[in-house]
């Protein structure tokens, strides 16, 4: 009732004075709607279209129907099983490492004094602050196979011959590089969530004689349920979608050992110039993402997160 009356009174005011009628919300919304539909909706439609063509490097194309998808699903491409295996290994090791690592670090930094915990958090947050290229460079250089690599030159000091990190443990390096990026964000969220837990709960548990492990397990972690779930969902999506760091550190090599699904799509398009095939790989990802999103929306109830204006105008 109230809202309706206010609305009409405001319209009255506007109606008298407004010279341009595009005063309405469309004037404010149109730039973002235009930009977002141009760079999101049209690309989604386009990627679905290109997936059904055989677009090549000369940008000649004709419709080829389901050929690309058949190549993908009937395993005519010998690399596909390997890529799927890589992707699964990558996600199921990077995701727990991120969440558990971030929880572990934030629980530990909570227990020590302020200055020390700030220093540690700064060290772990640094990866977020530096550009991806520099983060990639740090890992490439640190684990370089010759004696000029950082860790190899330290090993040399102890008389150990250089280890070819990227040939022996490529996946491990890629997982760690990505997981520690995830940890820096998740740690930030978890520490601020832990800081907002009323101190009484933890004190009461301590008085009852709970150990550090018991306090964390039975008091803090149950209270962190919401942030842990959001961060898991967030990082699941980013590990499925993002390939920039793998591209920078190993480029998918050696011999496709670190090539994950998204990176394979990128490489088929921009390295092998099979734009059609690359698009069909990305279409699979888009569909997976949409399914995941629907599931997550059901779980989280995204609508609850969106609050309406406090007063209706």
């Amino acid at each position: 009732m109230m809202a309706k009356r206010e609305k009409s009174s405001n319209m009255l005011i506007e109606g008298k004075t407004s010279f341009f009628k595009f005063n309405s919300h469309w004037f404010f919304l149109s730039p973002s709607v235009l930009l977002v539909s141009f760079f999101y909706f049209i690309p989604v439609a386009l990627v679905f279209t290109i997936a059904f063509t055989n677009m090549d490097q000369l940008f000649n194309w004709r419709l080829v129907g389901l050929t690309n998808f058949l190549k993908l699903f009937t395993l005519k491409d010998p690399l596909i099983p390997r890529i799927i295996k890589n992707t699964i290994i990558y996600i199921i090791s990077a995701l727990p490492l991120t969440i558990i690592g971030a929880l572990f670090i934030s629980l530990l930094t909570m227990r020590i004094n302020r200055t020390a915990s700030l220093i540690f958090r700064a060290i772990f947050f640094f990866p977020r602050l530096i550009p991806p290229v520099v983060w990639g460079f740090l890992w490439m250089w640190s684990f370089e196979g010759t004696r000029y690599g950082v860790f190899n030159s330290i090993l040399e000091g102890f008389g150990i011959s250089p280890i070819h990190w990227f040939i022996e443990y490529p996946m491990l390096i890629v997982i760690c590089a990505n997981a520690f990026l995830g940890i820096s964000l998740a740690m930030l969220i978890f520490t601020s969530a832990i800081a907002s837990i009323p101190k009484d709960y933890i004190r009461a548990a301590e008085i009852d004689g709970a150990s550090f492990w018991q306090t964390s397990r039975f008091i803090i972690i149950p209270l962190l349920k919401w942030p842990i779930m959001t961060m898991t969902a967030w990082h699941l999506m980013s590990f499925i979608n993002s390939y920039v760091y793998i591209f920078l550190i190993t480029g998918g090599g050696p011999y496709h050992a670190t090539e994950v699904w998204a990176l394979y799509g990128y490489n088929s398009a921009f390295k092998n110039y099979q734009y059609g095939y690359g698009s069909s790989i990305m279409v699979v990802l888009v569909i997976i993402n949409l399914i995941l999103l629907v599931v997550l929306l059901k779980v989280f109830g995204m609508r609850r997160m969106i609050e309406r204006s406090r007063i209706e105008v």
């Binding site: 004037f27 973002s32 530096i130 250089w141 734009y275």
Partner: protein, 277 residues
Amino acid sequence: MKKIFDKWIIYIILSLIAIPFLIMYIAFFAEAFSKGISLGIIPQKLSLSNFSFLWSTIPWGLEKTRIWGIFLNTFLFASISGLAVTVVCTLTGYALSRIEFRGKTFLLSMQLILHAVSGQILLIAIFFLLLYTKLLYKIPGVALARASLEIPLGVWMIKGFFDAVPWDIERSAMIDGCTRFQIWYKIFLPLIKPGIGAVFIWGFLFAWHDFIYVYTLLPGTVPLLSTLVQGLLATEVVDYGVIAAISLFYMLPPLFLFVFLQKALMKAPIMGGKGMA
């Protein structure tokens, strides 16, 4: 006694996790400011010779490249992207915060949905979109494409600032005969300066740091700082000292921008509710 022991264990565990990273960071700085390092982190001979790219050319393959042109291009790219994000987000944030209209809830949740389907996996389509609209290989076009990625979260950021402004101010402006646009321009923009600064930094920083869009959508002849670092790493003979120095140079400007903008923008008027109106 037991407590102190516990503390030490925590310190030791944290240090064990942190040490590899500390070694990386220290090696990075040591390499940039010296003529080579031994044992990973000990600089041999301090010098600034790695920074000679600032006044002479960069040895990059057979070509001789100068850093300042690349720096200006990067700055142009990041500024266009930052400005686009700022303008679009302040407009949209106002509408989402203050105007009731049909489909608003849908639009707000849309912003979240769009953030989930990331731009990285749409890159092939964006490539062809820019190709057909003749925007490919041009800095403004790619900057706009980059800006669209930051809009969803940018809108959420600035909406919070709009929400914090008291309604009384807007009402009194309306009674005095302001149109929506005038309210937005004359009343809100001065009040949410810190928010504008934050969104601009947001857009600028991500465009400045961006690699994959620049690498894919701009030609190899127009390197930006990120593609320059990657290009130097991909050459046959890699000089880590020079790359570390250039990386350091690449990381500094956003820091300066942040310090500079923070000083200028934190002088926001204090919101006083009724007193202000």
